[in-house]
Symmetry: C2
Subunit: 421 residues, 2 copies
């Protein structure tokens, strides 16, 4: 399903066993919840099935616009999975929109695409008090009321939030469907929880296959059968000093996955460690071959402060070929004639990889056989595990984000000091 190769030596790692034990303890003690999401969700799956069977829009195939109101971990994972799988046969013909930013131009642009009477809004916030999400929800309530766009809220709104959050209490009071996020699952690790599963189910994806992909890796990992060099890679990332970690994905479908990776990696691993040193690894997401014409030059000739992971899709399953066409003056480009686009883009990946390896840039490759629920679930879980293990090697708390709290307090101060409300 997925294959892993690497072209750098990681050396002996005396800490691997003890790092595994630390992870295992987090899992068994349920201190960290994402580890068990692949195996622990029958109750949720039944709730989702019941919701889909009972919601008038969904059951009568009248749903046209699914709107996720949520920012950061509340939207990135769903978007990543849907963008990878949106051409698969399971995908329903439903538009999905993400309302996340308080940019008014962008907000109006999305609102004008939505048919409210055929729209379902998922309000997603782990804490239940994310200011962007709740402010957007307030605006939507006001917008809908003024225009009498929705009759029964119950058919058009559901919430996804922590079990006892303020949003959960409000949702319950308004008799909206409420999906809970397990308390021990952080926002950026939540795509395999209700945060991702609810919208992905509505879009038509097979959740059991999605979770099953993650479960396959989970079993291998916790039964210590194999782990695709997660410990070796994590140890290398934490200790080698090449602190910019590039993910170079060879398909335009990975655009949102790259963003999900950037949040997961950057927000988890940029921290003060237990000795109060600033540590952190900087994620960069690239798309091949496009970014061969952009960032690649910097990787090849720039400072040796980067690692590169290539992602290659073996089967695009679309037989488009470069025609065997000789255009006058342009014979120089004929070497691609007759090859399938899949062949060419994968050869571009191989060629770029070779030239990066030649420069002694630490390089590895993840080959995905084809994109489906199972392989995507596996890939998601792989990156979550890699992040968790790397965090252990860095001796940090992978799951908090104390650095962004100061800004939230300042925001309130700034607004309260403004007089032009």
């Amino acid at each position: 399903m997925l294959e892993f190769k690497k072209w750098f030596e990681t050396g002996g790692d005396k800490e691997a066993a003890q790092t595994y034990e630390a992870i295992k303890t987090q899992q068994v003690s349920e201190e960290v919840g994402f580890y068990d999401l692949p195996v622990n969700q029958e109750v949720l799956l039944r709730q989702i099935e019941d919701f889909c069977a009972g919601n008038t829009l969904i059951k009568h195939n009248r749903l046209k616009d699914l709107v996720v109101v949520g920012i950061g971990g509340s939207s990135l994972g769903t978007r990543a999975v849907d963008d990878l799988l949106r051409f698969s046969k399971n995908r329903n013909i439903i538009n999905i929109h993400f309302l996340e930013n308080l940019d008014p131009i962008y907000l109006l642009d999305i609102l004008k695409c939505i048919e409210f009477e055929k729209a379902l809004f998922l309000v997603v916030s782990k804490s239940g008090t994310t200011v962007e999400t709740i402010s957007l929800a307030k605006y939507l309530i006001d917008y809908v009321k003024k225009r009498s766009l929705i009759r029964k809220y119950k058919d058009h709104v559901a919430v996804i939030t922590d079990g006892d959050s303020p949003l959960h209490r409000l949702g319950k009071k308004l008799q909206l469907e409420c999906f809970e996020i397990p308390k021990n699952v952080g926002g950026r690790f939540s795509v395999l929880s209700s945060v991702g599963l609810v919208p992905l189910a509505i879009l038509g994806y097979d959740l059991r296959r999605f979770l099953n992909g993650a479960k396959r890796l989970r079993e291998c990992f916790f039964e210590q059968k194999h782990n695709h060099a997660i410990f070796e890679k994590a140890s290398f990332y934490a200790k080698n000093g090449a602190n910019i970690n590039v993910l170079f994905s060879y398909s335009s479908l990975f655009e949102s996955f790259n963003k999900w990776y950037i949040q997961l990696w950057g927000e988890s691993l940029g921290k003060l460690d237990r000795a109060h040193n600033r540590v952190g690894l900087t994620p960069v997401g690239l798309i091949g071959s496009i970014d061969q014409h952009s960032f690649l030059q910097l990787i090849v000739q720039g400072p040796r402060d980067k690692t590169v992971t290539f992602i290659k899709l073996k089967h695009f399953d679309i037989p488009i070929t470069v025609p065997k066409m000789e255009l006058e003056f342009l014979q120089k480009t004929d070497f691609a004639n007759g090859y399938s686009l899949q062949n060419v883009i994968n050869a571009q990946c191989d060629a770029t990889m070779e030239s990066v390896i030649e420069q002694n840039v630490p390089t590895d490759l993840i080959e995905i056989n084809r994109l489906d629920e199972e392989s995507v679930g596996y890939l998601i879980y792989y990156y979550e595990l890699l992040t968790a293990v790397t965090g252990e090697y860095l001796r940090i708390n992978t799951y908090d984000q104390p650095g962004v709290e100061a800004g939230k307090v300042k925001l309130q101060e700034i607004l309260l000091n403004q007089t032009n409300r």
Copy 2:
């Protein structure tokens, strides 16, 4: 129009005068062409006007799909400008598509949106032999022929390329409209040349105002009136050791601008210097407030290897307000009630900026009064100048990309060695 502030000390800079002289020499000798694009294009502007007046689709308002076939510098600049301005009154109601990647899934997805009889294709390649672009063009020719979708190529295709490139020769032979890219203007510095101007004119933007914005900065810069601390910033970036340069733009409209910046900065400044040392600055593009929930944690608590430039838009010109609505249990979020979204997003920018400055991360701010052709032209030219000056301080050739050539050769080898053509 634009205001610039910075919160870090750059120290004395003895090299500023000599760096300015080096830049001035590049400009006067016409070794580097982008400097004079704002003032030097009357011939091109007339060609574009004549083309738009003569093309049957454009003159009869029948153009529905504008398709830019081009990768890297051939598409990023156009996309950046259009995304910033697409809600302005000048913008025609035309869909724009970018065909750039050889990903077959992505290609089919775009093709199915195009009405060929109402479509205009711009084939854009500086060298005229970019393998992605020419392979896509071949596929389009074949696709159109098999389905008899287009009668007269002349009405539906134009090329933008170097004056004597193979593509230019083919275009001339086929009697297509050919727009030239000046030889001394590199791809990533070409948005103010025909590469950007032709599609932007077709979309309805006012090219003279766009160029005029750039011209205003050009005059100040070369008459040494003021330069918004370009030399101080460039010198700091080149010498301070904080080699990750984050652009944190507070509006979703900047998504493509950030990508344009990443190409410009990464590909220009990641090089072997004259003493064969690997140097380079790593660009990162973020969108506020979204990425407060992602990368910000890494900036605040991670290693001190970053600078941050905030971009703030003073006037969004859309009076959307967070309703003065008190939702039960959610009083904690009421501090935003009654404020315009513009107020809140800009307060988010200020709050984030303050917390970053508090951590002694070198920070500066670009405030844009409002988005229009002139301010965007100014902003584009500002970043091009900043890149050029930073390259001088780094003692590199800012305008080549030797590191990506090896991969191109390898691609041919790999394909030639495959037997499954």
